[in-house]
Structures are given as structure tokens and as C-alpha cells.
């Protein structure tokens, strides 16, 4: 079979050039967070890493990520030793910026490698679609905005995740898939959201016999158990010896934060807040009681600790229960039919459930849904139908992350470029489904995309012209509520597709 153009490497090179040009762009506090971690891991002994708190940006990622920072700091020493001083807060010499930005680009090679693995694992007619999907992930506006402007290392993390997902495609590499995922969990614990799908899939496809669920493959269980044990041991062992595990866990899981993150992630709680705000206005007519204390904090709209004026408050326990319920439903099907497609679908739906119902979800977590979904979005047109509103809403909901005027054209033009290019390409590449399409759902996704255009214009330009600096929460609230409709809509659509295919 002849090569498909453009190749992944070609895209990576051109995208790399654009990313280098972004070096002087706006960078969020995450830049300082990672610089601080470089300093902590380089200048302090291991057992002080999770206790150090000179900066407010304490180390709150699991140990493998800390080791990763330590490795980078060995190079950073040669570039500019000043960035490795723990007390050198907010240090950003141009060497530091060049170095840190470069490490993001270099570490993203992991993603390129994993995506190439994904393309190579597809055969026949689906190879062209796989290549398009891989390029769409590589050029994802999410990674572009979050990693290369805002500053984080998601590219490398998702590279590991995709590698692990691809390894699960073949029976012989199933073990490595599980171990790689365990290692990923020890780098960034946000992937715990996807762990239930892994657990069920590995249990059914690896630990139990394919013929009967009652026959256990003991050897496989031992291999998997020992492997995971070794990985956890490497990650947490040195800290466990010093009895630091409770301290680490208090850093990794800070339960003191509020339901909604500083900006509202487009999930069910954003819609809940929106309804609450509408009810505040309607309350006098409907005769509902309004909690005065909550009124102040909701009006600000930007607060981390949201409380509701009319609707009942939401507790972490409720969030947790809802998340688990909606994760469990698709997992039942995965347990019954442990195919790779179902596995990716289940991973995506686990991502959806935790994003939509989770406690203190950050809008960046939408990538947990978009990226696994991209791998199967081109399976047929029904999958694509569910993917489309997600692609629009998920990426648009990231816009508030960048608020500086210089980055405004970058985020909008890049996202619009990506949406036009890939929605057009996907439309050509996705094969027709063997089952009937949902008439209503296609209409929903077209309508949704159409409405998004004036809304984006209003939120990014119109609002500032009409209201100036006042009512700043309004565009944020519109963006997140509207995006929430898209995410929820695509979730419902995908649930249906998942259970009917």
C-alpha cells in the first residue's frame, strides 16, 4: 500500500515550527509551577520533595512526574542554573523560557511515536482514517492551547495513554498496555478517571479466560499483579520507606477545593449553576426561597467555591456516586464483549462520566474525552455524529484559559482552522454505518455548530464592546453552559451509539 500524505512526521515538523514561534506567548502560572518543580527535584533530597512549600505551587503530581522533572533538571543545570533555585520564585529568564518550552516540544515526540504506532496498527481501508485521526490529535487545539501557550506537558502524557491504548489492540501486548497505564497513573493521577475501563478490560480480556468468565488465568494474573506492584514500588517505594505516603496523598487529592473550578468546566454542574442563576431571577415569581449568603459568591461567577442560591448544594459524595454510576453502565457492556472498539468506547465514556459529574473538574480534562474518542470517531458516520459537537464544544470551552489580546487570534484562528480541516476531512473519510442514523441527532449537531459561531463572536468580541469590563462572568457562563450542552449532547449520542453497535 502506498504512503498516505502528509505523513505524521511532516505534520510534526511544521507544527513544531509554529510551536517554537510561540515561545514568547502568554504563559500561565503553570509555567512557574513546573519551574518550581524543576528546582525542588534538583536541589532537594527525595524525601523533602513532597514537604517543600516555599512556593504556593507545591509538588502535587505523583512521583514518576517528579522523576521526569528531575531528569529535565539535569539538562536545565547546563542551560541556566538560576532557574533551579527553590527561592527564585517567578524566575523567567529567556533561557528558562526557551528551555521549558523546548522540553514540552521534545517530550511531545512521545505522542508522535504513539500516534505512529496507532497508524501502523490499523490496516486496510481504515489506515487512511487512522492517519487523519492521528494527525488531528497531533494538531489538537487542546494540546496547542494548553501545552504550548498555557504551559503543561499533556502531549507526553497523552502519548503514553495512546501507546497503552494501542498496545491493548493485540492480545500479545495486553500486559504491556496495563503496565504502561499503571506507569501513567504514577505520572499524573488525573488518568484515574479512566482506570475503571482498564480494570474491567484487563480483568475480562487478560485475567479471565476468553471462553468462560469463571476460568481464571492465574499466570496472567500473577504477571499483571507483579508488574503493577513493581511499578508502584518504584514510584512510591522510596517515599513509603520514610512513611510519607499520607503526605503525598494529601498533596495529590486536595478535597478542600470547590465543586466548580475557577472557570466553569462545561459539565453538568455548569448547567446546574446556570439554572440556579436563572432561578435567582425567577425566584420571587415562583415563590422560591433564595439563600442570601450564596447570592454574593454566585454573582462573582469566577469563584472556586460555588454555592447555590436556589437549588440544593452538591456534595462531593453525590458527585462521586453519579460518576461511578455512569461509569459502570458502559463497563457492563465492556465486560460482556471485551473488544478493542468497546474498550476505547468505554474509556471515552469513563472520561465523559468523570468530566460531566466529577468534583472540581478542570476544563482541561475535556482532553480525557476528546483524545480517546478521536481514535474511534472515524469508525462510521454515527460515531462521527457524536464526535462533532464534542470537538466544537470541548475546544471552545478552552478559550477562557487564554485571555490576553495577543493570543486571542491564535486560539480562535487555530481552533477554527482545525475544526474546518478535520470535520471536513472526517466527513469524507468516515464510512456509512450499517445501522440507521438518528435523524434528530444529526440535526442537533448541525444546529449546535451553527449557533456556536455567533456565540463565540459575542463572547470574545461583542461582550467587550457592549458591556466593557462589567458583567465579566457573562461570556464565561455562556461559553461554559453552551459547551456543556454540546458535551452532554455528544455524551448522550455516544452512549446510544455505543450500546447499539
Amino acid at each position: 500500500m502506498s504512503e498516505i500524505y502528509p505523513s505524521l512526521a511532516q505534520c510534526a515538523i511544521v507544527a513544531g515550527a509554529l510551536k517554537i514561534l510561540l515561545f514568547p506567548a502568554y504563559k500561565s502560572t503553570d509555567f512557574e509551577v513546573h519551574r518550581n518543580w524543576l528546582a525542588i527535584t534538583n536541589s532537594l533530597p527525595l524525601w523533602e520533595w513532597y514537604y517543600e512549600k516555599a512556593s504556593e505551587w507545591t509538588l502535587d503530581y505523583p512521583p514518576f512526574f517528579a522523576y521526569f522533572e528531575w531528569v529535565m533538571s539535569q539538562v536545565a543545570k547546563l542551560v541556566d542554573p538560576a532557574m533551579l533555585k527553590v527561592y527564585n520564585l517567578e524566575y523567567d529568564s529567556w533561557q528558562t523560557v526557551y528551555f521549558q518550552r523546548f522540553t514540552v516540544i521534545i517530550s511531545e515526540l512521545l505522542l508522535v511515536w504513539a500516534l505512529q504506532m496507532f497508524i501502523d496498527s490499523s490496516h486496510g481501508a481504515s489506515k487512511r482514517a487512522a492517519q487523519a485521526a492521528a494527525i488531528s490529535i497531533l494538531l489538537s487545539p487542546g494540546l496547542f492551547i494548553i501545552d504550548h501557550i498555557h504551559f503543561q506537558y499533556n502531549g507526553a502524557m497523552y502519548g503514553i495513554l495512546i501507546a497503552s491504548l494501542v498496545l491493548a489492540r493485540k492480545k500479545s501486548t495486553l500486559l504491556w498496555s496495563g503496565l504502561l497505564f499503571a506507569a501513567l497513573l504514577c505520572m499524573k493521577h488525573i488518568y484515574l478517571y479512566l482506570a475503571p475501563a482498564y480494570f474491567v478490560f484487563l480483568l475480562r480480556a487478560y485475567c479471565l479466560s476468553p471462553k468462560s468468565v469463571f476460568r481464571i488465568q492465574f499466570l496472567n494474573c500473577v504477571k499483571l499483579g507483579a508488574g503493577i506492584g513493581a511499578i508502584l514500588g518504584t514510584a512510591f517505594g522510596p517515599f513509603a520507606l520514610k512513611g510519607q505516603i499520607p503526605q503525598i496523598f494529601s498533596r495529590l487529592f486536595p478535597f478542600s477545593r470547590g465543586l466548580c473550578h475557577a472557570y466553569w468546566a462545561p459539565n453538568v454542574w455548569a448547567m446546574y449553576s446556570f439554572v440556579d442563576r436563572v432561578l435567582i431571577i425567577l425566584a420571587p415569581r415562583l415563590g422560591l426561597s433564595v439563600k442570601e449568603g450564596a447570592l454574593q459568591s454566585v454573582t462573582r461567577g469566577l469563584v472556586g467555591d460555588t454555592s447555590f442560591a436556589v437549588l440544593p448544594d452538591v456534595t462531593p459524595r453525590v458527585c462521586f456516586a453519579l460518576t461511578l454510576i455512569f461509569q459502570a453502565i458502559p463497563l457492563l457492556k465492556l465486560f460482556a464483549q471485551p473488544t478493542w472498539d468497546n474498550f476505547i468506547g468505554a474509556v471515552t465514556l469513563c472520561g465523559y462520566a468523570s468530566f460531566l459529574f466529577g468534583w472540581h473538574v478542570h476544563e482541561k480534562a475535556i482532553l480525557l474525552v476528546i483524545i480517546p474518542f478521536s481514535l474511534i470517531a472515524l469508525k462510521d458516520r454515527r460515531y462521527l455524529g457524536a464526535f462533532r459537537p464534542l470537538a466544537v464544544s470541548g475546544h471552545v470551552s478552552l478559550f477562557p484559559l487564554l485571555f490576553t489580546p495577543a493570543e486571542f487570534p491564535l486560539k480562535t484562528v487555530y481552533t477554527v482552522f482545525w475544526l474546518i480541516l478535520f470535520l471536513m476531512a472526517f466527513d469524507r473519510l468516515a464510512p456509512a454505518s450499517s445501522r440507521a442514523r438518528f435523524f434528530l441527532f444529526d440535526r442537533f449537531s448541525t444546529l449546535y455548530i451553527t449557533i456556536s459561531i455567533p456565540l463565540i463572536v459575542y463572547c470574545s468580541l461583542g461582550h467587550g464592546i457592549v458591556f466593557g469590563k462589567s458583567y465579566e462572568f457573562l461570556p464565561l457562563m455562556f461559553t461554559s453552559s453552551y459547551s456543556a450542552i454540546g458535551v452532554v449532547g455528544s455524551w448522550v449520542g455516544f452512549m446510544v451509539v455505543y450500546f447499539t453497535s
Binding site: 502528509p6 505523513s7 517554537i20 514561534l21 514568547p24 495577543a406 487570534p409 482552522f417 474546518i420
Partner: protein
């Protein structure tokens, strides 16, 4: 150096009798479309768009992608960023917005000439006025008189960058898009190849680096020139004249092309038969366009004089003499109503054409500066040098324009424009290193010509562009722009499969003629020299007694390479025009194929 063919009956001979383009279309860029694999990465990127994708889907994507690179490059610093006391080009442009919006029109060309006094033609002033008015709506302090000097507010930077990019998207980019469409149809190039050429032209690193990073509005002037050429392609010679006047009115540097515009328009009135009405119409419309261009300045001068607004409030007492054409004063009444207009226009000309400056400024990779390394020609009297420069320039630009006059054919336009501009760049007086954009523009447009994406054209166009960027490196380095320089030039060479990223442009399939080896040798040595130069500049300080050694080396190599580009453009122009007797031509071809 078109693809050599054994038969003397070359397809392009048809173009001679067929001025109507339809007969050419049959030869639809076969080479590019039929091949199995893309020859260079840019073709690979557009590979999925072959055949099926309409250009109305492709064009917006292309424009968005090139726009992203422009805007991202603009995140870097600009000329004169935090470099007091004078700052740089950015401050000049900002200052012009300040003075045009804050001062009466009659003072524009007189106001505080020591601080970036206005020295561009009126259209730049009007453009600055418009930008300044819009900017003042956002933040009036950006363009407050005096107090805004040297301002480096980050939001102002965003605004200024936006004015460059919007001006470009309103003028240069539509002009290039239309030009590429018309020119590729004229040459019978397939739509897909034209799209590849369009991206290559729009990603040209030199224009992005100078306009969007270093900061200027060259693309506005270049855009008007492209629009003028594009009108010539469409046979709308009157519009060509109007657009060219606009280009001249925006930046006097457009004069580099003036002779070619003149030669083509005159030629089209003489050949194939003399057409006096057309000549009169063109002359008339040119005069009218100039008049419209100057009208606001004239009206402003008159009304300000009537309202008692002095063009030079800083000078008391009698009116100072005219800066130029002092003889005029004997014939004119300085108290007459028209005198302020004369004064205004003379001052404008005086500002726009600084005759009093030296042969070259700083170090620029042209003939004079390179010659200066060997002979200290700066010691000769200025008048002699001016005369010498005039003679040399005329000698270098005469051949291409004679050819264009005798064969006013549309396909020859980019080559003739490029050759003339190279002649000007190499030999004229008062050249700036940024002027290399002028010959590069028409030369890069050659990518849209027939076989424009073939290896030999690509190799030469690429060579000229890379060399051009390289000669501007000292300029960019001065404001810490080495990174965008490296990224944008390397990206472009990568996309077009050129050295230093690939040597594929020098090896024709199956062909083993000596031209390709000679080209490889010449270009190879230049690329090696450029690489070596970068290594030396990074690694070593120049010897203390020769502090300018690196810059001088840059100038020498640059001037030599640009001379080659001039020769190549001229040679190709002569060959394509088929102006030489066919017997010579065939002999030449035979030699080549052997």
C-alpha cells in the same frame, strides 16, 4: 533553464502567437499532477486536496494557516524594542500615526524631522492617519502628541501587529491570490499546483520577517505592485497604472519596478500595432491618479494656509527657502495663494528622496558596498559616485526592459520585474538591505509559472530567498530575532525541499546534464558559505582591527549571489522572450542537452 527537450518544437513556442490563454490550458501542469508521490513536503501537505477539493474550501484554510504563522511570528520583538533613545522602525510607524492624527495636514512633512520625521509618500501618511484614528478609539494615549514617543505598551504592540496583518490581508494577499490564479491559468498550470505555489509565495520568510517581526508595511506596497501586475495579466492596463501609482504613493521604493511597468505599458501600446488612444488613456489615468493621491495634501495645505495654520510653527520670521529646486523661488511669489502648495509638495519630494545621503547606508549586499571592500570608493566625490551609480543602474536595467518593451507578453512580467529590481538593488544609490524584498517578490511569483514548481525554478527561487533572508540576518540579530529567523527560513526550505534540509531540488529524475551539476555546485558553495558564516558568527569574535569582518563577509557573499540571481533572471527572460534569433537559441539548447 527550462526543461531541456530534444526537439526544438517546445510547447512554450505556442505562447508566442497565442496571447489568448485558452489554447495553453491543455498542458495542465501534467508533471506535478501525474506523479505518484509529492516531490517536496509542501506538496505532501496539499496532497489530499488534489482533484476533489474545491479551492473555496482550500483557500480559507491556506489563508488561516499562513495567518497563524504571521501572527505567531509577531509575538517576537520588533525593531527598536526597548532600545532608546531612537527605538526603530516600529517607533517610526507609530510616530507617524501620532503626528498624522494629531497635527494639521500641512505640518505632516515638517514636524520635528529629527524624531522619525515623515519621509514616505502621502499614501503611507493617509494609511497612518487611518490606523492612528482607529487606534485612538481603543486607547488615545497610544498616539498622544509627544508623550507617546517610544511607547512600548504590549496592547499597543498587538494593535500595531494587527494593523500590519489586516493591511496585508486587505491588499497583498488578495492581490497575490488573484495574480496566482490568473498567472497559472495563463501558463496552463493546474489549480492544485497553483495552490501549492500560493502557499509557497505566502510563506516567503523574508516578507514575514521584515513586516510581521521586524515591523514595516512593505506588503502594502508590494501588494499594490502585484495588483498592478495582475491587472496587466487581465489586460486591464488602466487599472495597472492606477495600482502602480498607489504603490509608488505608498513607498517610493516601488520605483524599482517603475521602468518595467513603463516598458510593458508602452510596449503594449506599440506592439503588435501602434495604439495611440491607449497610450493617451494610460498617461491620462496615471496623471489623474497622481493628482488624486496628492489632492488631500494640496487641499490641506490650502485650507490650513487660509485658516492661518503655519506649516512650521517652530520657525518665526520669514519663510525659509525651499529645500530643493531653489531656482523655483525666482519665478514664484512666496505670498501667492498657491505657494503653500508648492512648498508642501517640494518638501514632500525632499523628504521622500533623500538625495543628500550617501551611496549606501550601513552595510548592504549590493555591488557598491561589496566593491567598497576592495576599493575604498567612499573616498571619491559624491557626485561622481551618484553619476556612476546612475550609469550602472541604467546599464543593468536596460536589457530586461528593452526585452519587455519589444515583447510585451504577460508571461514575462515577473521575470522582467525581478530582473529590473535586481538591477536596482545591486547598482542603485541609497539601497537598504530590506530592499531585497523588492526583487524577491516577483521572483518568488515565478513559482506559479509553467513548470514553476519544477526543480530548477524551485532551486533558484529558493536560493534567492534564502540568500535574501541571510543578508538580513545582521539586521534581525541586532534585535534578538535569530530564533524566528531560523524557524521561518528553515521551515520554508523544508516545505520546498531545498538546502539545507534537502538536496532533492538538484537532482532531476533521469536527467544528468551538466547544468544541474553546475547549479548544484554554485548553490552548494553558497549554502556552505552561509552555514559556515553562521557558525563563525556564533563561535568567534571578529579580530579587533576588523570589527565589521562578519558583516563585510555577509555583504560580499550576498552581492555575489544576488548578481547570479540577476544573471539567471535576465538569461531566462531572454530565452523565454525568444527575442534572440532562433538559430542561436537552438544551438544553445543543443549544447545543453549534450
Amino acid at each position: 533553464m527550462a526543461k531541456p527537450s530534444p526537439s526544438p518544437h517546445k510547447p512554450r513556442r505556442k505562447a508566442k502567437q497565442a496571447v489568448n490563454s485558452i489554447s495553453n490550458i491543455h498542458n495542465v501542469g501534467t508533471v506535478e499532477t501525474m506523479s505518484r508521490a509529492p516531490a517536496f513536503p509542501l506538496a505532501a501537505f496539499l496532497w489530499p486536496a488534489r482533484g476533489t477539493v474545491s479551492q473555496w474550501e482550500l483557500l480559507p484554510l491556506i489563508l488561516m494557516a499562513v495567518g497563524l504563522f504571521r501572527w505567531a511570528a509577531g509575538l517576537w520583538g520588533y525593531s527598536g524594542f526597548e532600545k532608546p533613545p531612537m527605538f526603530g522602525d516600529y517607533e517610526a510607524q507609530r510616530h507617524w500615526m501620532e503626528l498624522t492624527t494629531q497635527l494639521p495636514i500641512s505640518q505632516w512633512y515638517f514636524h520635528d524631522l529629527q524624531w522619525w520625521g515623515l519621509d514616505y509618500p502621502p499614501l503611507t501618511a493617509y494609511h497612518s492617519w487611518l490606523c492612528g484614528k482607529i487606534g485612538s478609539l481603543i486607547d488615545p494615549s497610544w498616539f498622544a502628541l509627544f508623550s507617546s514617543r517610544g511607547l512600548h505598551d504590549p496592547t499597543l504592540k498587538v494593535f500595531m501587529r494587527a494593523t500590519v496583518i489586516i493591511s496585508e490581508y486587505l491588499i497583498y494577499i488578495p492581490a497575490v491570490v488573484v495574480f496566482v490564479r490568473r498567472y497559472s491559468r495563463l501558463n496552463g498550470v493546474a489549480n492544485w499546483s497553483a495552490a501549492v505555489a500560493l502557499v509557497a509565495i505566502l510563506m516567503q520568510p523574508a516578507t514575514i520577517l521584515i513586516d510581521h517581526v521586524h515591523f514595516q508595511y512593505n506588503t502594502v506596497m508590494l501588494g499594490f505592485v502585484v495588483a498592478s501586475m495582475s491587472s496587466m495579466l487581465a489586460g486591464r492596463n488602466l487599472w495597472a497604472a492606477v495600482f502602480f501609482v498607489a504603490a509608488l504613493g505608498f513607498k517610493q521604493m516601488a520605483l524599482y519596478y517603475a521602468l518595467s511597468v513603463f516598458a510593458y505599458l508602452l510596449g503594449s501600446c506599440v506592439f503588435p500595432r501602434i495604439n495611440i488612444p491607449r497610450l493617451i488613456a494610460i498617461a491620462g489615468i496615471t496623471v489623474v491618479s497622481f493628482a488624486i493621491l496628492l489632492l488631500p495634501l494640496v487641499i490641506g495645505a490650502l485650507s490650513d494656509a487660509r485658516n492661518g495654520i503655519d506649516s512650521r510653527p517652530d520657525i518665526d520670521g520669514p519663510r525659509p527657502p525651499l529645500p530643493l529646486f531653489q531656482g523655483l523661488a525666482d519665478y514664484l511669489d512666496t505670498e501667492a495663494f498657491y505657494y503653500p502648495v508648492v512648498e508642501q509638495l517640494v518638501q514632500m519630494v525632499h523628504r521622500v528622496f533623500p538625495f543628500a545621503r550617501g551611496l549606501f547606508e550601513d552595510k548592504v549586499a549590493n555591488f557598491w558596498c561589496a566593491l567598497n571592500v576592495v576599493f575604498k570608493i567612499k573616498n571619491y566625490p559624491a557626485e561622481l559616485l551618484q553619476r556612476g551609480a546612475l550609469v550602472a543602474t541604467l546599464a543593468s536595467i536596460a536589457p530586461p526592459n528593452i526585452v519587455l518593451f519589444l515583447r510585451p507578453r504577460k508571461e514575462l512580467l515577473p521575470l522582467a520585474f525581478a530582473t529590473t529590481a535586481w538591477g536596482f538593488f545591486l547598482f542603485s544609490y541609497q539601497v537598504h538591505e530590506k530592499s531585497v524584498l523588492l526583487p524577491l517578490m516577483p521572483m518568488t511569483l515565478l513559482l506559479a509559472s509553467s513548470h514553476g514548481l519544477n526543480k530548477s525554478t524551485r532551486a533558484w527561487v529558493g536560493f534567492a530567498n534564502i540568500l535574501g533572508c541571510w543578508t538580513m540576518f545582521p539586521l534581525l540579530q541586532r534585535v534578538d530575532l535569530a530564533m524566528p529567523y531560523a524557524v521561518l527560513t528553515l521551515l520554508w526550505t523544508y516545505l520546498l525541499g531545498l538546502p539545507p534540509t534537502s538536496l532533492s531540488a538538484y537532482f532531476q529524475e533521469g536527467g544528468n546534464n551538466w547544468t544541474q551539476w553546475v547549479t548544484l555546485f554554485i548553490h552548494g558553495s553558497f549554502y556552505l558559505a552561509m552555514t559556515l558564516w553562521h557558525v563563525l558568527v556564533q563561535a568567534l569574535q571578529p579580530p579587533p582591527d576588523k570589527p565589521d569582518l562578519w558583516v563585510v563577509a555577509n555583504v560580499g557573499v550576498g552581492a555575489a549571489g544576488f548578481s547570479l540571481c540577476y544573471v539567471w533572471c535576465l538569461g531566462r527572460l531572454v530565452m523565454q522572450s525568444e527575442i534572440l534569433p532562433r538559430s542561436w537559441f537552438a544551438k544553445k539548447e543543443k549544447v545543453k542537452t549534450q
